[in-house]
Amino acid sequence: MSRLRGLTVPLVWLGLLLAACVGMDQLEPVFRWLEPSSRSVIYARADFLSLLGKHVLVVSVAGALSIIIGVGASIAVTRQWGRDFLPLVAQVAAIGQTFPPVAVLALAVPVLGFGTLPVIVALLLYGLLPIVRNTLAGLQGVSADVREAARGMGMRPHQRLWRVEMPLAASVIVAGIRTSVTISIATAAIGATMGASNLGDPIISGIVNGNTAHVLQGALLIALLALCVDSLFAWLQSGRSGL
């Protein structure tokens, strides 16, 4: 039960997020005070809930793909047969981390055109890096004695991976996924400049039209989404840290 009680914080953030989406109109006086001269103070070109849905979808798809590819690649290069590629993957991960996400997005457009696809690809590529780095660190952090004992007791390679190495590396891997997804939520907003419709829309249009209220509305919703997801990961990690 105490495990479930930890869900309170993410649920509170989720409640605030949904309330903000549905009830943004109620805050009109506040935004009117900020932006007295504009014709519209509440972003109305699209419904906030549907923007939120698209935002979550893009981040989820990109996140799921980064996890599958990132964790998969890291597992592969820490096996006996994939060890030759370990330096390569580790270096690519390290170099990639120094790339600003905007640059990744800008580079993706000429190749993939405008729309949701380049955003997913950019988020996927940028999100891979913390996951790979942490998965490698987690798997390599399993002590040599434990691995030796697992082999010596007669565990098969897949048993060693799933019963020993992955559970022991889990908290570090989840920390990497947490970083990756949280960054993606923020970065996805830039995708609005490339025609992907999401919570970045109010921000971009607010900047273009000089409407601070719209910028703030988008930023508020993205921040609430990021806090909600981040606290969800914090809860996931707290369940693992007892190991």
Partner: protein, 320 residues
């Protein structure tokens, strides 16, 4: 029975083990000793194929180890390492039950076996089975390590410096328990150490290795008395071999005066001549009363300790 025939292992250009021949009988306590890098650990790890041999053969009960799938082979051989390597995310009970679980035993049978092993190693199941490895002391962790190795009742136990990281007192206690376990369970044990006192104390058969080859093997007392060369002699302790031999000889063996002497300290008949000498030095006396429990057996004189029946064969004396 474990037979190593013309066994070799090469790492790059270097021979870690070269052309080694050794037969370990069933139920024997075989200790491999030598300096670091002499190939003793490599030899041990070739038996359960953690390291594959480059040449030669290893047979267990007449069957070549390469004839088994490696994980199945290892489940039949207990394995204990210096830093224990308990799985930190599993409880003590789950750690001990690992190999039976891999072998697909029924949960009830595993639970019963885990309790039995904890009792065997003097750990209260109630107190320890739910604990995690980080909550154990070094000695307790290694007990669990030994229990885990014994879980599926293997015929053979391989131990790679299992007590090397423990404090002397804990090490002493665990050596004692291992000896008594060996007497009770009659497992074939292959034990690697560089601690010569530990080796002499535990071994039925002592194997001295140097540069990947066996320099000498035999009963500890034979090696002490008749080392084949200066390397073996110095490894066995050089001039302190006298005391090491004394540590292997029980007091009862030298007892030849039945009468009692008054006013001298007692010594238990199960203690060693080394203990007797130490007592004499400490109390500045030259005889001790030998007792067994509350019963007096007679007197041990300094002369009895020093002058033994002449040992067999030629003797390499201590250099003066």
């Amino acid at each position: 029975m474990i037979e190593l025939k013309n066994l070799s292992r090469q790492f790059g250009e270097m021979w870690a083990v070269r052309d080694l021949n050794l037969t370990i009988n069933k139920g024997e306590f075989c200790v491999l000793v030598g300096t670091s890098g002499c190939g003793k650990s490599t030899t041990l790890r070739m038996i359960n194929r953690l390291i594959e041999h480059s040449a030669g053969e290893i047979h267990i009960d007449g069957q070549p180890v390469r004839g088994f799938r490696e994980d199945l082979l290892r489940r039949r051989i207990g394995y204990v390492i210096q830093h224990v390597g308990l799985f930190p995310h599993w409880t003590v009970a789950r750690n001990i039950g690992l190999v039976p679980r891999l072998l697909g035993w029924e949960p009830e049978r595993i639970a019963a076996r885990v309790d039995e092993l904890m009792a065997l190693l003097g750990m209260s199941a109630e107190r320890f089975s739910g604990k995690y490895p980080r909550q154990l002391s070094g000695g307790q962790a290694q007990r669990v390590g030994v229990a885990r190795a014994l879980a599926a009742d293997p015929e053979i136990l391989l131990m790679d410096e299992p007590f090397g990281a423990l404090d002397p007192l804990t090490r002493d206690g665990l050596q004692e328990e291992l000896l008594s376990l060996h007497h009770r369970l009659n497992k074939t044990i292959v034990f690697v150490t560089h601690d010569m006192d530990e080796a002499l104390r535990l071994a039925d058969r002592l194997v001295v290795m140097h540069e990947g080859q066996i320099r000498q093997q035999g009963r500890p007392i034979e090696l002490l008395r008749e080392p084949v060369d200066e390397f073996v002699e110095s490894l066995l302790g050089g001039n302190s071999r006298g005391l090491k031999e004394a540590a292997l000889t029980p007091v009862a063996q030298r007892l030849c005066h039945a009468e009692m002497t008054s006013g001298v300290p007692d010594i238990d008949a199960n203690k060693t001549l080394r203990d007797a000498l130490s007592l004499m030095l400490w109390h500045r006396v030259d005889c001790l009363n030998v007792v067994e429990g509350s019963e007096s057996l007679g007197t041990l004189r300094l002369a009895d300790v020093v002058t033994a029946r002449a040992p067999m064969g030629t003797t390499r004396g201590l250099s003066s």
